[in-house]
């Protein structure tokens, strides 16, 4: 039995379920004389060899990212979903108004929003915006669901840590009122008084000797 002549692709019409379907029919091995088969076999091996060797001389088709050597120049696509972030307006006010729609949209209960009611203004004030990256599937449902576009995915993908509990993030660095209240106040000093500083993490103390709170996994966050 000889080799397959790959060019011998037949086009035809075949019937299935009372319908005519245009098909291409696969090539099959042909009967050839022994000498032809031997010649074709050697030719096929050399053709393959030719391709692999030719790549020695045109390495420009390499698509591999030389990570981490190219860490400085590596450009991620801007839509890449890696790290959830809160969005702030130009004055620095946080857009999120604690409506908790994202919390309900999340299929994995990865979001928890803790808020308190300010007794003076009767407005919700954000306490902690907790994102559990360890159970997040990066489905984007929260970002899509948020009515005020207050969250977004950033593309900082280096998020490996040594303890799973370090993947519980508090996304807001300050607790307090949202942008509507914040931006209405002119005086920056007055504004700051409304806010309390929040640590980035406040779960149980993790294993592996990492110091907490405030500086999880040893890197400045």
């Amino acid at each position: 039995m000889g080799l397959v002549n790959l060019r011998k692709i037949r086009r035809a019409k075949q019937e299935i379920g009372g319908r005519e379907v245009a098909v291409v029919i696969s090539p099959r091995p042909e009967q050839t004389r022994l000498g032809t088969t031997v010649w074709q076999t050697f030719k096929s091996l050399l053709t393959g060899m030719k391709i692999t060797i030719s790549y020695l001389f045109r390495p420009s088709t390499v698509v591999t990212q030389q990570y981490p050597e190219n860490r400085e120049t590596l450009q991620m696509f801007d839509r890449y979903r890696a790290q959830l972030k809160l969005v702030y307006d130009e004055a620095g006010g946080r857009l999120c108004n604690c409506c908790q729609i994202c919390e309900n949209a999340c299929p994995n209960q990865s979001i928890k929003i803790e808020w308190t009611k300010n007794p003076d203004t009767k407005k919700k004030e954000l306490e902690r915006w907790i994102w559990r990256m360890d159970s997040c599937t990066f489905c984007n449902a929260c970002v899509q669901a948020c009515p005020s576009n207050s969250i977004t995915f950033g593309n900082e993908f280096e998020s490996a840590v040594y303890d799973r509990r370090l993947l519980v993030y508090t996304l807001n660095d300050k607790a307090g009122p949202d942008a509507k209240v914040w931006s209405a106040i002119e005086d920056p000093a007055e504004r700051e008084k409304l806010m309390r500083k929040m640590d980035r993490y406040s779960g149980p103390i993790p294993l592996s000797g990492t110091s907490l709170p405030g500086n999880p996994s040893g890197k400045e966050g």
């Binding site: 039995m1 080799l3 397959v4 790959l6 692709i9 086009r11 075949q14 299935i16 379920g17 319908r19 379907v21 245009a22 098909v23 291409v24 029919i25 696969s26 090539p27 099959r28 091995p29 074709q40 076999t41 096929s44 091996l45 053709t47 393959g48 030719k50 391709i51 692999t52 088709t61 390499v62 698509v63 696509f77 839509r79 890449y80 979903r81 729609i101 949209a105 299929p107 599937t137 990066f138 489905c139 984007n140 449902a141 899509q144 669901a145 009515p147 995915f153």
Partner: protein, 386 residues
């Protein structure tokens, strides 16, 4: 009709020399669940006589996550991101089938732009899946070079997805009522570049692997699956078509905009590993043809026709829809009781059936052939277990 269930008695070993001229004894060996040639956590229990495979018993369940059950406790939108994790190489098609059924059930309309983009994305995913498979079958047959080349070419398609969707594997892109976001401004340009890049590469695949005499000897006339067997095992996709049955839902029940494009269904003649191999290579060329016809004609329109925040509540009833993934027919069955979560969420996945024909066609071949046959079936294990 009765089904014969295997008992342990059927599986006990015959005494030495019972049906072997060499007085050899049969033995069992486990291939997997951690074995590179089973492409995931699949365990094949092999009854062997020396190196001859007497029987293959697939043992499943190592990556069962209960996706159907989780789906019954999630809202219709939330179920979409779960089906990414069935056949992760056909994630967009899986998204599409659930969206299709939910749209049908809830009476959600889509527009032409959405259908065009969905079709292009599905074909890109088919190309991406087939390039990966081509690399992997090369590796399973003992050639490492195709593996690198396949992954290299897949990378371009994955970059297209990453730019538009923001994820490379589990994308959650096609949703009830439309798409997660509009195509990136670079999408059309990048896709055209990719097609121009890929066309000569498919010819290169032919020269490097398809035309290779050793590869052909490893595939031709090995593991023949007849058309009758293929149908009775319920196989679909390239496995069924390689047996000579031109069953392709893109032609038979055109969904998306497949009704508007010209393409041929690749079929085999004998149903051996070679046909399963070459059918996929031919399919890549057809996919290129489909995308070329669509990419310049994407109409204007919205990318989402409904409000995302509004819960979907289909009326009571049973709904079914199916479409063609890179591996065969995926079907989605939803029973709705009028609430915002499905009462029953069931998936008919192609790989389960495609795997099972291995029990028939691998019998009598050597272990090395079993690897080639399993690779030519192109199974993805999470799709089998769900």
């Amino acid at each position: 009709m009765s089904v014969k269930v295997k008992t342990l008695d059927d599986l006990t070993l015959p005494p030495p020399g019972a049906d072997s001229p060499l007085s050899t004894q049969e033995y069992f060996i486990n291939m997997g669940p951690q074995h590179p040639a089973t492409h995931g956590v699949l365990r094949l229990l092999l009854r062997l006589d020396g190196e001859n495979v007497r029987e293959v018993i697939p043992v499943l369940g190592y990556i069962h996550r209960g996706i159907e059950k989780i789906g019954e406790n999630s809202s219709y939108r939330q179920t979409i991101h779960l089906v990414d994790r069935l056949d992760y190489l056909s994630a967009l098609m899986n998204n599409w089938v659930v969206s299709m059924v939910v749209e049908r059930a809830a009476g959600i309309e889509t527009n032409d732009r959405i259908e065009y983009i969905r079709t292009i994305m599905a074909e890109l995913q088919r190309l991406q899946s087939h390039t990966l498979w081509w690399g992997v079958i090369g590796m399973d047959l003992g050639a490492f070079t195709p593996f690198l080349y396949g992954f290299r070419d897949r990378e371009y398609a994955t970059d297209i997805f990453e730019e538009t969707i923001g994820a490379r594997l589990t994308m959650n892109y096609i949703q009830p009522g439309g798409l997660m976001n509009d195509i990136h401004p670079n999408f059309v340009k990048r896709t055209k570049e990719f097609l121009e890049y890929l066309k000569p590469k498919i010819d290169e695949y032919d020269e490097l692997v398809s035309g290779n005499a050793i590869i052909q000897k490893r595939l031709v006339n090995i593991g023949i699956l007849s058309a009758e067997d293929a149908i009775s095992f319920g196989t679909t996709g390239p496995v069924l078509r390689a047996s000579g049955v031109p069953y392709d839902l893109r032609k038979i029940e055109p969904y998306g905009v497949y009704g508007k494009v010209e393409f041929d269904v690749a079929v085999g003649q004998a149903g051996d590993s070679w046909d399963r191999y070459i059918v996929r290579v031919m399919e890549m060329r057809e996919s290129v043809k489909i995308i070329e016809q669509l990419i310049d004609n994407i109409p204007e329109g919205d990318y989402m026709t409904v409000k995302v925040a509004k819960a979907i509540k289909p009326p009571e009833g049973r709904y079914y829809g199916h479409l063609e993934t890179a591996r065969g027919v995926i079907g989605c069955f939803i029973v709705s009781d009028g609430k915002d979560k499905p009462y029953r969420f069931h998936l008919r996945t192609p790989n389960f059936n495609n795997l099972w024909c291995l029990t028939k066609i691998a019998k009598g071949w050597k272990i090395a052939d079993l690897v080639a046959i399993a690779s030519s079936l192109d199974i993805v294990i999470p799709d089998i277990d769900r």
